[in-house]
């Protein structure tokens, strides 16, 4: 019979390579200024879902919410074996905190009614680990956090959970949402044949941009729209169209999305980026050490 699986994947800035210029005035992140990568634990979530499909049959759908650039992680998912990719992109979803993000994802996933949802335990940009649990709550799915091993038997999942100072084995009813640990598996690499096929996969927003560039400034908006529609249909026929949804498509209540739907607000951002190499030297004297400690307390590193 097989299981229908959804995997939530996120494109994240590579936090290893952040510089001070990455922050905007309003305290949000200028993602454009950073190299973007597949959130590491989302790859483990994808792998867990692919293994379910390999073993039991079914489908794996990946969903990414974000800017059109998030298509990169969707394509990467297709290269690794996902069956279908969905991009949720909408300007009105900007500035969503974890509560609004989980609401938007829940609206999209409700349209798919999967048996299983997989999320990475946490994303390396925020490290909050909140979206998975909040998404489960909104969907009314059984939440199973910190998954390391998964076995399915009909409508029951047997899971080994890593609880930090040990493990727990649980039996949970489906439908369920799992947050997957880095230690759960080794994500498979992209498969050459799948790369050859899916590297041309595009979302409508990407196709529109390409049309815009190809037809130039002289072409009318109507002509561009027509050409975009034509190319999308063509891609659809070749099964290369990445599904794209906006907030209306998923029937989201705008009051729960974006800034309006986000109870948390940024009060202040301080950058503490220091370049390694040109380190700040403190003398080994009492006064020198006291000023170092003072600095670490002031910027909340210690204290």
């Amino acid at each position: 019979m097989g299981y229908s699986c959804v995997v939530c994947v996120k494109q994240v800035p590579d936090t290893k390579r952040i510089t001070g210029q990455a922050m905007k005035e309003d305290g949000t992140v200028n993602r454009a200024a950073l190299p973007a990568i597949f959130n590491p634990e989302d790859l483990n979530a994808l792998e867990a879902a692919l293994r379910v499909r390999d073993q039991h049959g079914g489908t794996v759908t990946v969903i990414a919410m974000g800017l059109p650039a998030a298509c990169d992680v969707l394509r990467d998912s297709l290269f690794r074996g996902a069956d279908r990719a969905i991009l949720i992109t909408d300007r009105r979803a900007a500035a969503s905190d974890t509560l609004a993000t989980s609401y938007i994802l829940s609206c999209a996933i409700r349209k798919l009614t999967p048996d299983l949802v997989f999320c990475g335990r946490q994303a390396i940009d925020g490290d909050t680990a909140q979206v998975g649990p909040q998404l489960a709550e909104k969907l009314g799915y059984t939440l199973v956090t910190y998954l390391e091993e998964l076995e399915l038997d009909g409508r029951t999942a047997r899971v080994k959970r890593n609880i930090g100072n040990g493990y727990e084995r649980v039996r949970s009813r489906l439908p369920a949402l799992f947050t997957v640990m880095e230690t759960a598996n080794h994500p498979r690499p992209p498969a050459l044949l799948k790369v050859m096929k899916a590297k041309k996969a595009r979302a409508p927003v990407e196709i529109a941009k390409a049309v815009d560039g190809a037809l130039g400034a002289s072409a009318t908006a109507e002509a561009k729209a027509a050409e975009t529609a034509h190319r999308c249909a063509e891609m659809q026929a070749r099964k290369l169209l990445i599904t794209q949804w906006n907030l209306d498509d998923i029937e989201a209540d705008l009051g729960w999305c974006g800034g309006a739907g986000s109870p948390t607000k940024v009060h202040r951002i301080q950058s503490i980026v220091l370049a390694g190499g040109d380190y700040k030297e403190f003398p080994p004297t009492e006064a020198g050490i006291a000023s170092l400690i003072g600095e670490l307390i002031q910027d909340h590193t210690i204290g």
Partner: protein, 354 residues
């Protein structure tokens, strides 16, 4: 979501397992006490479980004025569905203004689920909590006495202060060891309020089949601060200095492979290519030369402080702060300086004059 309730209490979720309190709730009560005093409201602990009443006394001694006690056999093991239901019922009944949870395996499962159900905000892994005013940058609305939730983000590259102005309670999680626990006050008592648990109609979707917990070993991955020692420490006895510094900072102890091979510290503590890879907010390495295999395991730390007698040691190449000196002199001075927190502001102004 509950409305803004200025008279609302400050709450701490008193996480317990098998009738034992972990340290986090006691640390949170110390912080919660400060916040409650600034707001002029009571501090309460929320104790959920089965046969956990004996813990009420401990919670009171650590600062709780009130203890909400929710007991039921069904609550013996932590389960997302049952605990969420009880905590949400409590919040709805008493409308606290602040709810704090440990950022533990349980806290990071429960708090987001509660926040989602209550449709309120939640800030993860705060490193500091303060009370302060907030002005909305767009509407210019000024709101006094909010919970300022301070946390590192982006792999520790920025410090963000988050507020939750309108949709209360204001919720946050805090990692173990981040807040300093004050000593228990032997004679202090609190009032226990028994909360009637109502789990009618709840068909638990999960069954715990087996649970294995080992005695707490070092948790390098989860540590916010790591103090690591290398061959330069000189002996297992001298390694005591590393432990002392880690303890006072609430951090974990790490070691280089040379330190492990020399028997100064156990292999569990090894950082590096063949040990654990860490990315704490602060990594202090003492007497570590900074071989590439060691750097591979720690160079992503948000801040690195290197203490080495050799000014050309490669570790300085990845450090943000450096002290060229003998660790046997430097570490005791650091401990002294951290202890005398009072003189810190002088030190800072003194340094800027120098």
């Amino acid at each position: 979501m509950i409305e803004v309730n200025r008279k609302g209490e400050v709450w701490v979720f008193a996480e317990q397992e098998a009738g034992h309190l972990s340290e986090v709730p006691l640390e949170l009560l110390s912080k919660g006490r400060e916040l409650a005093d600034q707001l002029g409201v009571p501090l309460a602990a929320v104790l959920v479980g089965s046969k956990v009443r004996p813990l009420c006394a401990t919670l009171a001694q650590h600062g709780a004025d009130l203890i909400y006690l929710a007991e039921d056999g069904v609550l013996t093991h932590y389960q997302t569905a049952s605990y969420t239901r009880v905590v949400c019922d409590l919040i709805t009944a008493y409308k606290p203004q602040i709810c704090l949870f440990g950022a533990t395996a349980i806290g990071r499962d429960l708090a987001p689920t509660v926040a989602s159900a209550m449709k309120c905000g939640l800030t993860a892994d705060c490193t500091d909590l303060q009370i302060g005013d907030h002005t909305d940058p767009q509407t210019k609305e000024h709101i006094a006495k909010l919970l300022l939730q301070i946390r590192p983000a982006f792999g520790g590259n920025i410090i963000a202060t988050i507020v939750n102005p309108h949709r209360w309670p204001q919720m946050a999680t805090v990692r173990e060891g981040v807040m300093r626990m004050t000593v228990a006050e032997a004679g202090r008592t609190g009032k226990t309020i028994k909360f009637p648990v109502n789990l009618a109609g709840l068909d638990l979707p999960t069954e715990v089949v087996e649970s294995q917990r080992r005695a707490k070993k070092v948790n390098l991955k989860g540590a916010r601060i790591i103090v690591a020692g290398g061959a330069g420490v000189g002996s297992r006895d001298a390694f005591r200095l590393i432990w002392d510094l880690a303890n006072i900072l609430g951090g974990a102890v790490g070691g280089s492979r040379a330190a492990v091979d020399l028997g100064y510290v156990d292999h569990d503590h090894q950082v590096g290519q063949t040990g654990t890879t860490v990315r704490p907010a602060l990594y202090i390495c003492c007497g570590v030369s900074g071989a590439v295999q060691h750097r591979a395991g720690m160079q992503e730390s948000a801040k690195i402080l290197a203490i080495n007698i050799d000014k050309d040691a490669p570790i300085f190449g990845v450090a943000h702060y450096g002290i060229v000196g003998d660790l046997n002199e430097v570490i005791p001075r650091m401990i002294k300086s951290i202890r005398s927190g009072a003189s810190l502001s002088d030190a800072v102004t003194g340094a800027s004059k120098a």
